[in-house]
Amino acid sequence: MDSINDNLTVSSPNGFWASKRRTEKITKIFTTIVLSIGAVSMILPVIWMLSTSLKTPTEVFAVPPIWIPHPLHFENYPKAWTINNMYISEGITFTTYTINTLIIALSGCVGVTLTSSLVAFAFARLRFPGRGPLFILCLATMMIPTQVTMIPTFILFKSMGWYDTYYPLIVPAFLGGGAYNIFLMRQFFMSIPYEMDEAAKIDGCTNFGVYWRILLPLCKPALTTVAVFSFVWNWNDFINPLIYLDSNSKKTLALGLTNFVSLYGQDYHLLMAASLLIVIPLVVMFLMGQRYFIQGIATTGLK
């Protein structure tokens, strides 16, 4: 690109290209500077978190802050992770909370990918009375704030004896997993040529066969997106575990961390260590699946 521009500069005596190239260069430098300032302010909180997590309690409150504590107190991590306190019954650490969160988040992934794709398949591929209105209804449920449904659902689940169990947190994922995921899967199904279905049907495939054997294997990018979203959502979910879970042994990471904050509110070195450990799985997952779900979001944002 640059060499072409160079040639043009030389060959245009009137200086038009030269001045155009100069403004372009200035724009680029300006852009880089602004983006870098932005990037620093995006990353600074994370560095601050890391730095605090490696300090002693006295270093934490030092002004001006010590960015690189010496020595590095890595022992804050195991300490924050296994800390016991008077309210938390013996033996319950962040490991317990992690296992609980994983149970909920992974079941959620299975439920959402399976049922959102089932529902989306019907909306994308099958003809049935009421399809249009039902799909609009489905989209309309996106507008419903969870707080409106929260109270009746709570009463329902409680009356079913589901209070302080994982059912209220897992079962909804098996009921289509929300309109957004159904919508995303439907968009993806629509982009697959219908000839695929027809060929399979001529070969004697049932509707379920078409869904399970033909379309689903083609949907891996969309399924990954849905699964990752669902995992992150469950990992971060706070209000649902807060209202449904009571016993300490059943609590999730989000609740465990909140407890920790209310008990050790001033021990920022430990709080930051625990928080960092909790977000690491998300960061790793993001870096690994980055390309997939940036694509996924981009397509749903557009359609």
Partner: protein, 303 residues
């Protein structure tokens, strides 16, 4: 209806069974139930009691905390949504210039929004906003020369606490940025070339090509982010220990609903609050659709 059509319809209904169950038990049904409950008085333990419009009367004429919560939520929304949107469009446009290291910038900007509204992020920001030794006041003091003791007290100040929530929300601009970036890349370059031939400068190109091309995405994002910010909860709960302090200055609608329902067990009153929140969200969405003439869809001739 032929038998083949009937067969297809039956199998379609089986595919969408999860969605139908969700409509009955976790979205549609509960919305109706919440509406019904909002005319009742109920603490779950004693029998339910029909009270007509009492809850609404109490809310509008006898409950200053309701008005406070509504004001706080609106304040947060109307500050964080437009500014956040402008910021994410600017970042997306800068990133759309072909500067070096775009992938790195994209990752850095997008990462915070993956961590989202999780408890860990709220804990981190609680520490950043710490008035005496937090990161934000330290940066303010080195950039402006104001001593840290005279900087805003953020979460401890009745005036600054809401603004702290707004500032924190800007850390998530990367989520919108990704979507706008995809939108920008979808605008055909031929349009820019045509504009350039017509003698349009950069600024004119922005107004006549970029903005119309981006408008469907801006519209979509505006609706989604508005709905989401009306529902702010996690951050406030964690940073204020579930109280919405100081002096109710961060008491937002969802937090108030939560307090009424799950701290005071006023299920009817909480449902009435939720219904009002829903009405506000619907009204905001409806207004956006009503005033959506500025949205330009490709392939549609403007009248």
């Amino acid at each position: 209806m032929t038998s083949a059509e009937r067969k297809e319809a039956i199998s379609a209904y089986m595919f969408i069974t999860p969605f139908l169950l969700a409509m009955i038990f976790i979205t549609g049904g509960p919305v109706l139930a919440a509406f019904g409950l909002s005319f009742c008085k109920w603490d779950i333990l004693t029998p339910i009691q029909f009270v007509g419009l009492d809850n609404y009367k109490e809310m509008f004429f006898g409950d200053p905390r309701f008005w406070k919560a509504l004001y706080n939520t609106a304040y947060f929304t109307f500050l964080s949504v437009p500014v956040g949107m402008v910021l994410s469009i600017i970042v997306a446009m800068l990133m759309n210039q072909k500067v070096k290291g775009i992938a790195i910038y994209r990752t850095i900007y997008y990462l915070p929004s993956v961590l989202g509204t999780g408890v860990a992020v709220a804990v981190l920001w609680k520490w950043i906003f710490n008035a005496d030794s937090g990161l934000l006041n330290y940066l303010i003091s080195i950039l402006t020369g104001i001593p840290m003791s005279e900087c805003p007290k953020w979460l401890a100040s009745e005036f600054w606490s809401k603004n702290a929530l707004v500032i924190m929300s800007f850390w998530g601009v990367g989520g919108g940025m990704i979507i706008y970036l995809a939108g920008l890349q979808g605008i055909p370059t031929t349009l820019y070339e045509a504009a350039e031939i017509d003698g349009a400068n950069r600024w004119q190109q922005f107004w006549t090509v970029t903005l119309p091309g981006l408008s469907p995405i801006i519209f979509f994002q505006l609706i989604i982010t508005l709905v989401n910010s009306f529902q702010i909860f996690n951050q406030v709960y964690v940073m204020t220990d579930g109280l919405g302090g100081p002096a109710d200055s961060t008491l937002v609608m969802v937090l108030y609903i939560y307090q009424k329902a799950f701290k005071y067990y006023q299920m009817g009153y909480a449902s009435a609050l939720a219904c009002i929140l829903f009405a506000v969200i619907l009204l905001a969405t409806w207004l956006q659709f009503k005033f959506s003439k500025w949205v330009y869809y490709e392939g549609e001739l403007r009248k």
